[in-house]
């Protein structure tokens, strides 16, 4: 089913939870709701499900206005953070419960579907157990199976993996990716982690304090954040931000660092801006492609270096600003060691005073 929200707003008492959200989700698409805690993701999911009535605006399913329709009559399934299962029913009964409540199927058919869904979620060997006898990951699989078996047209997931171990999260994410791609169900998945959004693909809607600040294909939103806030929310490690002044053909970062404005920044007027660059686009070796004289080189001192398996994160300080650099391979850096941060200016994002995107890196054929 295609889902559309027109100017949906939600106000509870004096608090504004959602502010005039316009969203259009095509049938069968996967949409990620990305945003920090309390940004309105859960409220938006509840409005989509029909659990809450929006204060303003309309919700349309396949073009039909369903704003006043209760959740029971909508074809929706929801998965929560807290592995919600019926504690006194076995896994089999839990999964079968939506079908039993509909009361329109033969026992044999119910059995077939329960076993098929359990197999997809890899819990077919646990059908006799009670939820209290399962691990967190298994409980969540049961909850997801219960949601899938309904065959609902709209599947809503509210940070379903946040209470699970890191590795389990990885596995379940993969499995869900598979499942979503094989079914004609519209999926909306809320999360705070940018990496989850990138892994799930599809479209991403970025939420901040109840506002929808960007919507588009996930990788596009990642590469072209419309504003500073999107850049901040949608990056892990966080995007490096530096104040810069543009005058003449030059951009000046600080007393000793200036560079010629690259192509994509030439159209900008003079003034004060903020420049963003991703951690993996800063290099600590001078081997940067492009014209070396145009390269941006920032002298900095190492504050901290973190080694994470195959990569190193270096936190370096320049002029009171701390920048994070991500580099391949394991190298150790001493505290206080002077380093040079090389940035290809073509990779810079520029945000104006208000935080809106003024310029973003040009994409060449193979570059991201």
């Amino acid at each position: 089913m295609s889902l559309a929200l027109e100017k949906v707003g939600l106000r509870i008492g004096a608090e504004m939870h959602l502010d005039a959200i316009d969203l259009s989700l095509p049938a069968g698409s996967v949409t990620v709701l990305l945003g920090p805690t309390l940004s309105g993701k859960t409220s938006l999911l509840r409005v989509m499900a029909g659990l809450d009535r929006p204060t303003t605006g309309r919700v349309l399913v396949d073009g039909r206005d369903v704003t006043g329709v209760g959740v029971r009559r909508r074809n929706v399934a929801m998965v929560y953070q807290q592995f919600v299962n019926y504690p006194s029913l076995s896994v089999y009964e839990n999964i079968a419960s939506p079908l039993r409540m509909a009361r329109r199927l033969e026992a044999a058919e119910i059995d077939r579907r329960v076993r098929a869904t359990a197999q997809i979620m890899r819990i077919d060997s646990l059908l006799d157990r009670l939820p209290s006898e399962l691990s967190g990951g298994q409980q969540q699989r049961t909850a997801i199976a219960r949601a899938l078996i309904k065959g609902a047209d709209l599947l809503l997931l509210d940070e379903p993996l946040v209470n699970l171990d890191y590795k389990l999260r990885e596995e379940l994410r993969e499995e869900m990716r598979e499942i979503f791609s094989h079914r004609a169900v519209t999926v909306v998945y809320a999360t705070t982690e940018p990496s989850e959004a990138l892994m799930l693909g599809g479209n991403t809607a970025v939420l901040d304090a109840g506002h929808l600040i960007q919507f588009g294909a996930t990788i596009e939103v990642y590469r072209h954040p419309a504003s500073l806030r999107v850049g901040e929310i949608f990056s892990d490690p966080p995007m490096n931000l530096m104040p810069a002044d543009l005058t003449g053909g030059q951009a000046r970062l600080s007393a000793d660092v200036a560079f010629a404005t690259p192509g994509h920044m030439r159209g900008l007027g003079e003034g004060h801006y903020r420049i963003g660059v991703r951690a993996n686009h800063i290099s600590l070796d001078s081997a940067v492609g492009g014209d070396p004289s145009a390269a941006l080189a920032i002298p900095a001192t190492v504050e901290l270096s973190e080694i994470s398996g195959s990569e190193t994160f270096v936190h370096a300080r320049h002029n009171g600003l701390t920048l994070v650099v991500q580099r391949e391979g394991v190298r150790s850096y001493e505290l206080g060691q002077p380093v040079m941060l090389y940035i290809d200016p073509k990779r810079l994002y520029v945000f104006d005073g208000a935080g809106a995107l003024a310029a973003s890196p040009i994409r060449t054929a193979e570059a991201p």
Partner: protein, 359 residues
């Protein structure tokens, strides 16, 4: 400052443990060097929180001794052990201001007000809580509250070790970076022993100088992040560390290497010599140690099943015969679409016999 030794330590929550599975912590001996930053890494239920609570004194171990600087503290209560602990969700005293929260441990130990004030101000400064000292602690956000929890440990002069039990669980991703940096700064400045429990391998590897991987009550491996990454001693460690984890390919040994799905992978001769007779032999290779190219070249012929673009890098899922392999490719590099060739970095190719590293 304390060197912590665990001797013959084991713990069971049951009154009369009979089998190994009754033990939450199986017998172990461990030493934690003074001033080191350690991570206890493992899945839920592996015993890491139990171990942490034994070190802090919240649990008395069923067997074994705990020594701080060679002093037996096994029977001492937590408040006598010079440790501080930060929990998964912020623990603060709701009715007090930030200042009073930080002063609480000192006032309980009957320190003079002047000294209390100076210690609290110093720690608040370090944690960037100076502006909020007079606010009610319950009104701050989760990350500030965690800093207060941490601060209560730092104010005490006598703290030798700070123990963390998954402290960043409730914190938003981009604030996690800031808090981790703060923890490292604290480590550098105060030179305390820090022990950090987590199930998040990325967090463990970035935070710690040495990581202890646990599974089902046992310590599987202890080493630097690099050692654990490059030479996992146990299959589980290879799987658990790294995102995605190590690839394992069941193989058959030949005279000069191994064979997987009728394709050949060379292995060094000394490795082949040391390979024991085993039920299950597997090649272990990390996704970062594989290079993928298009179909016209040398290497293992594979089918490209899926490519995920994660912004910074791409994860390519390949099929070698019936076996699935994941390869990490930097985002700039092109990836063939249908069929391709894989070259495994020989220096990073490992052999596992029944789950244990050979050689």
């Amino acid at each position: 400052m304390a060197r912590i030794d665990l001797k013959g330590l084991a713990h069971s929550y049951k009154a009369a443990p009979a089998e190994p599975t009754d033990y939450a912590l199986r017998q172990m001996d461990m030493a934690w060097e003074d001033g080191g930053a350690y991570a206890l890494l493992g899945p839920s239920g592996c015993g890491k929180t139990t171990l942490l609570n034994i070190i802090s004194g919240l649990i008395h171990p069923s067997q074994g001794r705990v020594l701080f600087d060679s002093r037996d503290v096994t029977d001492l209560a937590p408040q006598q052990r010079n440790i501080a602990q930060v929990f998964q969700f912020p623990v603060i005293y709701d009715t007090m201001t930030v200042f009073d929260n930080l002063a609480f441990p000192l006032r309980n130990r009957k320190l003079g007000e002047a000294e209390v004030k100076s210690r609290v101000n110093e720690v608040a400064e370090m944690l960037e809580l100076g502006a909020d000292l007079n606010r009610r602690a319950s009104r701050l956000g989760a990350d500030a509250k965690q800093k207060i929890s941490l601060g209560r440990g730092l104010v005490r002069q006598d703290v030798a070790a700070i123990l963390f039990d998954e402290p960043l669980t409730v914190i938003d991703p981009h604030i996690k970076w800031i808090l981790r940096r703060k923890l490292k700064q604290i480590h550098k400045r105060y030179k305390l022993t820090l022990i950090y429990v987590t199930h998040d391998q990325a967090e463990a590897l970035t935070f710690a100088d040495r990581v202890v991987v646990m599974y089902e009550g046992r310590v599987l491996q202890e080493g630097t992040p690099q050692e654990l990454f490059e030479r996992p001693l146990h299959r589980f460690v290879g799987y658990f560390i790294g995102s995605p984890g190590m690839n394992f390919l069941p193989c058959r040994l030949t005279s000069d290497g191994a064979e997987v799905a009728a394709q050949h992978i060379s292995l060094p001769a000394d490795l082949l010599l040391r390979a024991p007779k085993a039920e299950v032999l597997e090649i272990g290779i990390r996704p970062e140690a594989i290079a993928v190219s298009d179909d016209n070249g040398a290497g293992l012929a594979v089918q490209i099943r899926d490519i995920e673009d994660l912004g910074i890098r791409k994860i390519v899922t390949c099929l070698l015969g019936d076996h699935e392999l994941k390869v990490v490719v930097p985002s700039e590099r092109p990836v063939p679409l249908d069929r391709g060739r894989l070259v495994l970095n020989p220096a990073m190719t490992r052999l596992y016999a029944d789950g244990h590293l050979v050689g």
